[in-house]
Point group: C2
Chain length 176, copies 2
DNA sequence: GCGCGATTTCAAATGAAATTGAAAAAATCT
DNA sequence: AGATTTTTTCAATTTCATTTGAAATCGCGC
């Protein structure tokens, strides 16, 4: 019996935290790892965010580092990135030296950010390419010209629909 | 004057095709390159699909290769992948040796495939992680426990909403 | 002000994923 | 059937984003 009993009389794992707490954290991290994979975001970001999310109180960088194997450099970069994103917020506890980090649980902000930065950017660029396609489309009446025109039209239709969807999506997110 | 005049009396570029045709193709490829980047798909796939999309008639592998600088290996692999995806279809012209490829312009099929393979898979995995989170959530009444419970609840809420959205999306795609 | 641990910075290492190239296989033409 | 060209396969290479680690910087206690 190397440790004091946990408040929940559960098993104590090597790092001194109750097994349940660790299991909880692992699930949270796994969740965000999967999500990050879908969105093409680096793993370290998912891990850092997950750790913050799974902790009821704000964590200092060294506390975070105690929970995962991650270089100090990665952590620092990751915290900066996530802070810039608005995914986590710096909490400065009065009588304390280092900054601490807590998740911003407003997930919609993250989603809106993603939509704007990635999806809308692609839609805008695509618009330009579509213009150029239309400008260079063959003007003839032959079936070959027609095929290409109809393809571009179809693409353009999809593009328009996607574009129209964005404000709706963002609106829905803002209400939630 | 090294070449015969084009049917459109336009400029003839080095590869013997009218400048407009080449410009059109370039725009199409650029469009799909951007889209591929958004979806995390390799560039070569976007290029191959773009070339097929920009051609009014089905192209043989060697014709495709004449239009971009791409190793024969990449092209072969890319064609196989895109065919498996249903993004392009093999067209076997009767009195002709090699298979030719045409785009499947039913873009919704691609979108549905993407939704099912990537998004739904993540939603299912996430469901499992959420279960585990809930099972390991602290049961106490303290504010710390409450914070975590509310976070998981919020996450769960988003998850449920996303999940509910999928059938709607797929339904909408099927009608289009 | 000095020293020490914690954090940040950034160039270099790593690793995952895409691309190539050479050899094998298939298909066509003579 | 043999020769030639096209296509496929797959190991090796290249590429590129992420991660690391060492040095610089910061912040606080002594």
């Amino acid at each position: 019996m190397p440790e004091a009993p946990s408040p929940m009389n559960g098993i104590i794992v090597p790092d001194g935290r109750p097994a349940e707490v660790v299991a909880f954290e692992r699930s949270v991290i796994a969740y965000f790892l999967d999500a990050a994979d879908l969105l093409g975001v680096p793993k370290s970001l998912a891990v850092i965010y997950g750790i913050c999310f799974a902790s009821s109180d704000p964590l200092s960088p060294s506390e975070i580092r105690a929970r995962v194997d991650l270089s100090a450099g990665s952590l620092s970069q990751g915290l900066r990135f996530l802070t810039g994103l608005g995914a986590i917020i710096e909490v400065s506890v009065p009588g304390e030296r280092a900054a601490r980090y807590a998740p911003d649980v407003e997930l919609r902000k993250l989603l809106i950010h993603y939509l704007e930065r990635r999806v809308e950017a692609q839609l805008d660029a695509g618009q330009v390419h579509l213009k150029s396609m239309k400008a260079n489309l063959p003007k003839g009446l032959g079936s070959k010209s027609k095929i290409l025109r109809s393809r571009v039209e179809s693409l353009s239709g999809w593009h328009g629909k996607s574009r129209a969807l964005m404000p709706l999506l963002k609106g829905a997110l803002k209400l939630s």
